[in-house]
């Protein structure tokens, strides 16, 4: 759970406190009438004046808070108890109990709330004894659903299974494991129920069908003040204000609780800094390179200062060449690809370095210039083709959009071009397939469509971010073949981001291995695989499943997160060759042999 914003809690607490302590304030009896002073102006004894029956307005206002909050909290509490029990029972016992609990709630939701309330009031008459169970029933579905969903998600988790196999009683499992897990959402639900109970109670009282007069209630007070609104407009204003402020506070509390319970933390985002130029190395790109990265560093601003998930990444890709960017998840390889496209997620920003695409530094281009570059000179395909395609657009429309983004093209011709591209990437029956929505295609077909989209404008550089990870092995091989063929015929440069070494061996000319945000080794694939010059590369190679079935060696430990990098060599904690001096100073990526770069102090001891 995140931290709860204190403002709303204080506001609701103050209102509840006032309501609880009213009897101690020594106010007038809120029911005491004084017809002689009806609608009297404020006096010392009656700071807010007197109402149409001469009753003290301040007293009625504060006692009204008591009535409102009492009805709201007791009905929400009742709904919470019953709803939690029903949700637990439904989720855990399953079978008919589950059916009854869930369908029963659907039925409650069939009626607009105020209507159901009116129906019940007709039968049972107005008053708090009717109101509380009635409101409880109305808010039951929320609790049942939240708890039920919580049980479902927890039930499948291993530890409930484990506890069950250990023989813990069912009831104990339910209460011990599940309740703390659904506590947050239930609390949110409680605040929602309380807020809307206040609204509904006041509405019913306003109609004269809720709290029975002469008891003080805000809704009733507003209803009564309507008759005298010309003579005494303030009589109307006070309860309106009290009611609205209370609901505002309760709503704010709901939002605060929801934010606190929400597992997705909120990270502050910041605009691109002007630091860029200062940090840029004053180098010029190699002539002819399709892409050259120099010292690329990416920062994410967190409440406790910036972290750097990508640091000092330099690499070069020539036309006709395929470079593989390899690393475990969290190594920064995807962020590197996205930065090159100017597509970093909003929380991340470029903190330094340069990225030249055919001689132009894309990190310094404005959005309009970037847009002209993206999809034309440089294109990208993503890991998950299903989520990366618009679910509500036909496939040819989406491909055509890539064409139209960079050239005027009439609709008919665009569609024909899209069909042609689909045929080009090997989709059978492309005329028919063009009309498909993404969900109507297979995974491999979707990835082919993504590729068609990417090559629509014959880019000079194609960045493929794990394009085969979501596919099964056969399809994977076909997609790799397609990419290789496309590269051969067009001469574009290809950056292939992957975590799979066998895929690297199959497709790439050169490889750059990334670890914890840095490139640790770079070189020609055959040479690197034959003789790795960095312990991490060696360990990665050793961890690839063998064809002869003998056990692969897993690398001990995990990749350090960018907020907890060890000093010196980032790989030192997991390195078999680590010495004391590895954990100090900075290590540079050095060219130790022709076209072989490594970031290790002991590379020469490795062979």
């Amino acid at each position: 759970m995140q931290r709860l914003r204190p403002g709303p809690v204080v506001a609701v607490g103050t209102i509840a406190f006032l309501a609880l302590l009213v009897p101690l304030f020594g106010l007038d009896n809120p029911l005491h009438m004084d017809i002689a002073h009806r609608l009297a102006q404020p006096t010392l004894a009656h700071p807010l004046g007197q109402d149409a029956y001469g009753r003290d307005v301040l007293a009625r206002l504060l006692w009204g808070a008591r009535v409102s909050l009492a009805v709201a909290s007791s009905s929400s509490a009742l709904a919470c108890l019953v709803g939690t029990a029903l949700g637990l029972a439904g989720g855990f016992l399953r079978g008919p109990v589950e059916f009854l609990a869930l369908r029963g709630m659907d039925v409650v939701l069939c009626f607009p709330p105020l209507l159901l309330a009116l129906l019940v009031v007709t039968l049972l008459g107005p008053g708090a004894p009717t109101l509380i169970p009635l409101l409880a029933v109305l808010y039951l579905p929320g609790f049942v659903r939240v708890v039920y969903a919580g049980v479902l998600s927890v039930r499948t988790q291993d530890y409930v299974e484990a506890m069950r196999s250990l023989g813990a009683g069912r009831l104990r499992i339910m209460l011990g494991t599940i309740l703390p897990n659904v506590g947050g959402p239930v609390l949110v639900q409680f605040s929602i129920a309380a807020a809307s109970a206040v609204v509904l109670e006041s509405g019913l009282s306003f109609l004269g069908l809720g709290v029975v007069p002469p008891a003080p209630s805000w809704g009733l007070m507003i209803g009564e003040a309507r008759a005298t609104m010309m003579q005494a407009p303030l009589l109307l204003l006070w309860p309106c204000l009290a009611l609205s402020v209370t609901i505002l506070a309760l709503n704010a509390l709901c939002d605060a609780l929801r934010d606190a319970v929400d597992p997705h933390g909120i990270t502050r985002r910041r605009r691109h800094g002007g630091l860029l130029d200062r940090l840029a190395p004053g180098l010029l790109p190699a002539p002819g390179a399709a892409l050259e990265l120099a010292g690329l560093t990416i920062a994410i601003d967190t409440p406790s200062g910036p972290i750097h998930p990508v640091r000092d990444v330099s690499l070069r890709v020539m036309p006709h060449e395929t470079l593989a960017l390899v690393g475990e998840s969290g190594s920064g390889k995807s962020l590197t690809g996205l930065a090159t496209m100017g597509l970093l997620p909003p929380i991340a920003r470029v903190a330094g370095g340069a990225a030249w695409i055919e001689g132009r530094d894309v990190l310094r281009l404005d959005e309009a210039a970037l847009r002209r570059l993206r999809g034309a000179t440089v294109a990208m395909i993503f890991q998950d083709p299903l989520s990366s395609l618009n679910p509500v657009q036909r496939i040819a429309t989406q491909i055509g959009e890539a064409v139209q983004a960079h050239a005027r093209s009439p609709a008919k011709a665009t569609w024909r071009r899209a069909v042609e591209l689909l045929r080009h990437v090997g989709i059978p029956d492309p005329e028919r397939r063009a009309h498909n929505f993404p969900h109507e295609m297979s995974g491999g077909m979707r990835q082919r469509a993504m590729i068609a989209m990417a090559i629509a404008n014959q880019p000079r550089l194609l960045i493929a971010d794990e394009p085969t990870t979501a596919l099964d092995v056969t399809i994977q091989a076909q997609v790799l073949e397609l990419l290789a063929a496309l590269r051969r015929e067009s001469g574009m440069a290809l950056i292939f981001i992957t975590h799979s070494l066998p895929v690297v061996a199959e497709i790439a000319d050169r490889v750059a291995v990334m670890y914890a945000g840095e490139i640790v080794e770079q070189g020609r694939v055959a040479e690197v695989f034959a003789r790795p010059l960095h312990p991490y590369t060696a360990a990665l190679l050793a961890s690839v499943p063998r064809e002869d079935g003998s056990l692969a060696e897993a690398i001990p430990g995990t990749v350090p997160p960018p907020y907890a990098l060890p000093p010196g060599c980032a790989f030192a904690p997991r390195c078999r060759f680590a010495r004391a001096d590895c954990s100090s100073g900075t290590l540079a990526l050095t060219e130790v042999m022709a076209e072989r770069l490594t970031r290790c102090r002991r590379w020469s001891d490795l062979a």
Binding site: G219, L236, F382
Partner: protein
């Protein structure tokens, strides 16, 4: 097609369940329903009147028979007679229903015109001045109950400034301008809360969709921002917005009770409040049934609309 049939089937089932519950509700109350309905202020009712009411409500027959008879009457559109003046309930409902629907429709149009563009603008300029002011206004609008908005409107615009009549109704046919004048305030009252909900939903949906992978794909293709907004973001954000709008229109069917009461708008809800006060059960039953059926129908329309907007649903 199968999807549509399935959805219609479920809706019919729901209507049946609602009718059954309304039927059972009066019979599940402890004590004799006729006696309860006729008791006012704790005075024991006249036994002859009770006996007569029992016959009129059919309470003297076995429960099963009552149920069959009741369902049969509902099927042919007979909602029984009012206990107050013995007129058919269905006729009165039919006369008042269009007025309520007009009110809701006008409010919905106003709310969409206000909430949707505001939400979009706030999402695009997230964190900017407009976003902050509009979000704050929406929070306030959501906190003020609908009858408070209505009452304050009457106090300010009718009683204080004399800009508009405090309430009432004339038919459009008789006096078109006056009709619209009388419609304005109640419709605006409903629209304020609805617009706030729509604003929030639009803002959230647009922000959510903007984070999706396919938006990144569109950007990677070099598509212009305006087109991304129109063709990718809005289209996909529309689905949650439509759902929220429809669900809230549903609860508005109930919520108009208060607005119609405040502005003396002779719609369905006024009828309902009068009937509740007079404990006129057949009339209450009739109105609740009709509104619930509308509610269910509205949900059906939403689901079908959803299928129209999202090709995935049609196959699911």
């Amino acid at each position: 097609m199968l999807f549509v049939l399935k959805r219609i089937g479920v809706s019919v089932l729901l209507v049946w369940v609602v009718a059954t519950i309304v039927f059972l509700a009066i019979r599940m109350v402890p004590g004799d329903p006729a006696t309860i309905l006729l008791s006012q202020g704790g005075v024991a009712p006249d036994p002859a009147a009770v006996a007569q009411l029992r016959i009129q409500l059919g309470l003297n027959q076995p429960l099963g028979m009552q149920y069959v008879a009741d369902m049969h009457r509902l099927l042919v559109g007979d909602l029984g007679q009012s206990l107050q003046d013995q007129t058919p309930v269905a006729g009165e409902i039919l006369r008042r229903l269009p007025r309520t629907l007009e009110l809701i429709g006008a409010a919905a149009v106003l709310a969409v015109l206000l909430g949707l563009p505001a939400g979009l603008l706030a999402a695009i300029r997230r964190g900017g001045a407009f976003d902050r002011i509009a979000s704050w206004l929406a929070a306030v609008a959501l906190a003020v109950p609908i009858f408070v908005v209505g009452t304050l409107m009457v106090a300010i615009f009718a009683q204080g400034l004399h800009w508009a009549p405090a309430g009432g109704y004339v038919s459009f046919a008789r006096h078109p301008l006056r009709h619209l004048e009388l419609l304005a305030m109640p419709a605006a009252t409903i629209a304020i809360g609805l617009a706030a909900i729509l604003f929030r939903m639009t803002r959230a949906a647009v922000l959510d969709v903007s984070m999706r992978d396919y938006i990144r794909t569109a950007r990677a293709k070099g598509v212009a921002p305006r087109r991304i907004l129109a063709r990718h973001v809005l289209r996909n954000a529309l689905m949650p917005i439509v759902t929220v709008l429809a669900l809230n229109l549903g609860s508005l069917l109930g919520g108009t009770v208060l607005v119609e009461y405040v502005f003396n708008w002779p719609g369905l809800s006024g009828l309902l409040v009068d009937a509740v006060n007079a404990r006129d059960y057949p009339e209450v039953q009739g109105v609740v049934l009709v509104i619930s059926v509308l509610f269910v129908a509205l949900n059906l329309v939403v689901d079908l609309l959803y299928a129209l907007l999202d090709p995935r649903v049609r196959h699911g």
